[in-house]
């Protein structure tokens, strides 16, 4: 098993990408390490695909530098970069059989016939497609095409493999299976993977680190557990997993214990570095939210149970607050439920919340909100 090294494989330095007045990527700084599985996550139009295409060389940067293995590749065409791409729609050559598709890159590099045969064979077994050499792409299922597309890229032994929502077109079950396979493949080969997706669950499953993007800005980068448990911004808290977010102001501060006040009540949270009267966001995961029939000391949030939604192993309870805000609470199946219509008091463990400064948030909101166009390949 290959380990992530400290060596920086790909670096984006102050990268901007504008299409006219449309700012798709804004001052992006990112370091991707050798052997790392990095996922670029964000809603469509956030600039993640454009970023990937700038690394591949399909798009030029407006300003800033793309550095691969310490070399500025700004003036290099895609065919001069030691990276390969797995395209969203596979982009297999329809007039070539599977063998010729996988061999394409090697024939371009004028590798000897025997070596090509051997390497294509290895790749086919790697992606479990032995015996498919003579098939045409049109004869394959979506999952098989995806395997061939991965083999076609990996056969060139790239330093970095770029994957643009490669599993987007597959059904849920196959997607889950391919996620695990891709992860194993990456570990086995030790190649740097840069993986673009809008599926937050996928990113949590596969990545060493996740770079969350929104409106062309890198919101947060970090390992999945950190992204999930310690979101740096309201956007990240909201986008990754589910969150109940309260806009609150800090009432009293007692060391790390804060009393926060919001429209529908007040609560206690524990966080450092906040001052009296500051506006904050409180983010509580549904699995951390609790409710009780009696008032809990320190909390004063009154709600009404609206409905229960069964999601297999867990049950989601929706609690409506007087101002209409709906809180999501997840419970393990089998937990006694409070019947809809009953009044409950919402609370949580003090240290199970994330408290966020709002000033960063307002800063982002002040930056002009131009509609974004995600360039798809």
């Amino acid at each position: 098993m290959a380990q992530v090294s400290d060596k920086v494989m790909v670096e984006l330095r102050n990268v901007d990408k504008f299409y006219g007045a449309n700012k798709v990527v804004k001052n992006l700084n990112l370091q991707i390490r050798e052997g790392e599985f990095l996922t670029m996550l964000g809603p469509s139009g956030c600039g993640k695909t454009t970023t990937l295409r700038m690394i591949a060389g399909f798009e030029a940067v407006t300003s800033g530098a793309v550095i691969i293995e310490g070399e500025d590749v700004g003036n290099k065409a895609p065919y001069q970069r030691n990276v390969n791409t797995v395209f969203q729609n596979y982009a297999l050559f329809p007039h070539m059989n599977i063998y010729d598709n996988i061999a394409f890159g090697l024939t371009e590099k004028k590798v000897k016939k025997e070596e090509i045969r051997q390497r294509v064979g290895e790749m086919l077994s790697l992606v479990q497609m032995d015996g498919y050499e003579k098939r045409m792409p049109s004869q394959l299922s979506g999952g098989q095409k995806q395997r061939v597309a991965i083999a076609r890229a990996l056969v060139n032994r790239p330093k970095v493999l770029l994957l643009d929502e490669p599993l987007g077109a597959l059904d849920l079950k196959l997607r889950k299976q391919m996620q695990v396979e891709l992860k194993h493949l990456q570990r086995q080969l030790g190649i740097t993977f840069v993986y673009v997706t809008h599926d937050q669950e996928e990113s949590l499953t596969m990545s060493d680190r996740i770079a969350v993007m929104n409106s062309g800005i890198l919101e947060q980068i970090g390992p999945p557990d950190k992204i999930y448990n310690q979101p740096a911004t309201k956007f990240v808290a909201d986008f990754i997993g589910e969150s109940n977010i309260f806009e609150a102001s800090v009432g009293s501060v007692d060391g790390d214990n804060l009393n926060v006040i919001f429209e529908t009540g007040s609560a206690e949270v524990s966080a450092a570095g906040f001052s009296h009267d500051e506006m904050v966001y409180i983010s509580v995961r549904p699995e951390k939210l609790k409710c009780s029939a009696a008032v809990v000391p320190g909390f004063n949030i009154r709600g009404t149970v609206k409905e229960h939604i069964y999601v297999g192993s867990i049950i989601k309870t929706i609690i409506e607050l007087p101002n209409g805000q709906e809180l999501k609470m997840s419970l393990l199946a089998g937990t006694p439920l409070i019947s809809p219509g009953e009044v409950v008091w919402v609370y949580w463990e003090k240290d199970s919340t994330v408290v966020l400064h709002t000033h960063e948030e307002t800063l982002y909101n002040l930056i002009e909100q131009v509609p974004k166009i995600e360039v798809s390949v």
Binding site: A56, G57, F58, A77, P78, Y79, V83, N84, T85, F87, Q88, N89, A91, L92, F93, P94, H95, F104, G105, E108, K109, R152, A153, N156, V377
Partner: protein
Amino acid sequence: MNTVAPKKRRAFSRSIPLFLMVGPVILWLLIFVAAPLVYILVISFMKKGTYGGVVASFNFENYLRIYDPLYLKIFFVSIVIALATTVLCLVIGYPFAYIIARASDRNKSILLSLIMLPFWTNSLIRTYGWIILLRTNGTFNTLLLSTHLISQPLQMLYTNGAVMVGMVYTLFPFMVLPLYSSIEKLDRSLLEAANDLGAKPRRAFWRVTLPLTVPGVFAGCIQVFIPTLGYFFISDLLGGGNSVLVGNLIRNQFLAARDWPFGAALSILLIVFTIVLMRVYKHFGGSLENIT
């Protein structure tokens, strides 16, 4: 919805009998396509009357006559001119179609209408236009003489070259349009993939773009090649008496020599030739839908 639709259609076809709906079309095809073809086929096996007309006596004489070196030469020249026209159209048309297909939407419609606009003028009038350009005291010669590039006017009109110019000019859109549609359909991510895998743009063209636009190339070539054999008015006007193509030969048999049976035999041969070309085209994976 899917289960309802067939029922409705059945009910509809019960209320209007099938022959009333399809009948007129079949009748039209019978009268204006099938009947003339059968007529041509039948008289191609007959004899010419002394004062024109057709004498009913079954024989293969007309077909055997085609083996005359004089007619074989006309066939040969026609095919050479048609091939040259096709190649010229392809060589000029491919880059042109490529540029249109890759242009912005606005430029695309401008370029396409530039191709289509001359089409809305009668092709006979456009061919007369070429006479004005090409004749001895025509535009081109006047220009060349006034710039002292030549001292004597060039003989441009009434040559095979003039015929080819006219053919290329008239049939150019038939080449560009199928090429355009097949280049347009080409998924750009395939070219990006080729680039990504180490192919320079030129290599990507030969390995990906060209093979994938072969249907367009075939369709365009067929649509240029076949009419070139038959467009007698172009070789009449621009080739004068010096250029006799199959089309002219057939026209002459019907209108000048009044030898309908021989003209019919030549027509049948041309039709058979066309059908063979279409079979070849289909054999190489061409779709007849590309030919519109």
